[in-house]
Symmetry: C2
Subunit: 218 residues, 2 copies
DNA sequence: TAGATTGTTAATCGATTAACAATC
DNA sequence: TAGATTGTTAATCGATTAACAATC
């Protein structure tokens, strides 16, 4: 194990998909799979799968392939899905509430410990099993509970104000649904995973346009 | 214009971000920018910006740079943000409702024309200004309104059942929040933009793990 | 043992960066 | 005109694929 020094982000981003497919195989009672078979199911090359996995260790066996359950477990380990990182969510609007109720935090490495908003209409209400607290209470809360992850479901301007404070309060990672650009050059010891739904939508728009209305060849 | 034959997806995915930053500049009353300045703001290289833009045309002027408003408009055009592609949303649960109310479809190339669900508890209720229809009505609806895009906010199993039908009904593009893997090899004339929130979360988990608990060097 | 399939090295492909002549 | 900055070609870097010896 543990030769994972500086694995590229392209590899990391494929791991959750491996994990999902292996989980499915497991549920279907399949205990063994070769890189060739898995590649076929996942629309990848066998080479890529073997390269990816060998960033972390030799999980297979020559002549046999991979043990599905074992590999599934190894990837869970690599991703840190048992970590239970203490997490706060900022912004209890439509999106924030959907994420709070819709996502399974515990299965994915996180533990939600607080929900915050700045609107008086929302503060004091409940989302799932959380009473929404005012963002003014963040300093005290972080001092006491020391969360490491913040989910940003707030407008751009609020994010601009809150991010420096949160970093000050000890937040180390952001799951960022806002349009605020967290400058990773400015904060080297902070990790950011952006989910820009608007950008994703525009990317789709381009692709639909190309499909429906293809450019004329010269 | 229009030398956009086969632009790589890496380039396309950067366009929405350019669009957002140019919009901000515009709002701040900045009318002109060089690739060098823009690169600084966006944490990119000037080279990359010029390469990216020149996939679509020479929008700049030597010795001057780029006109912000003009470039902003060109990118809107390239992305097809005025297209108003007719779109249906499937699954009026937490996530589906959040997307319906939270996203600005019109600004991003789409027009929402219907919301569907299969649960009797939800069908007949309203989301934003839509009455939720039963998925059984999809065939009739698509025949009449001919939507081209479907947003999938439904469980994996439902997606597995519905996707082939939807393609049959003329749907050409999916914005896929479900965990169902739409096999693009199987459907060559269909475009898919996946948003796997769970995968994104797991990727973040890995990064937090590495940051908080870095691997020991040998 | 023979067959299968891995782990790993080498070759290819694509994307990013650097350099510079063209030109506003 | 001289200075600035583009558009574009060439060089570099990284990621993917192919090949094959190691080995179960």
């Amino acid at each position: 194990m543990a030769k994972n020094t500086n694995v590229s982000l392209s590899v990391i981003k494929r791991l959750p998909r491996y994990y999902r497919f292996l989980g499915d195989l497991l549920q279907n009672g399949i205990h063994r799979i070769s890189s060739k078979e898995l590649a076929e199911i996942m629309n990848l090359t066998a080479s890529q799968i073997r390269q990816d996995l060998n960033c972390f260790g030799g999980f297979g066996q020559q002549g046999y392939g991979y043990n599905v359950a074992a590999l599934h477990g190894e990837i869970a380990n690599i991703l840190g899905l048992e970590s239970g990182f203490k997490t706060i969510l900022l912004g209890a609007g439509n999106l924030g509430r959907a994420i709070t109720t819709h996502m399974n935090f515990e299965e994915k490495g996180f533990r939600l410990v607080g929900v915050f908003d700045s609107s008086p209409n929302v503060v004091g209400g409940t989302v799932r099993d959380f009473v929404v607290q005012h963002t003014d209470a963040l300093g005290t809360f972080c001092g006491e509970y020391q969360p490491v992850v913040a989910i940003l479901c707030i407008p751009k301007e609020s994010a601009g104000e809150l991010v420096p404070k949160l970093i000050d309060y000890g937040i180390k990672a952001f799951w960022n649904f806002s349009h605020f650009d967290i400058n990773s050059a400015q904060y080297p010891n902070v990790v950011v995973e952006n989910v820009h739904l608007g950008d994703s939508m525009m990317t789709l728009s381009y692709q639909v346009k190309e499909l429906v209305n293809p450019p004329v060849k010269e």
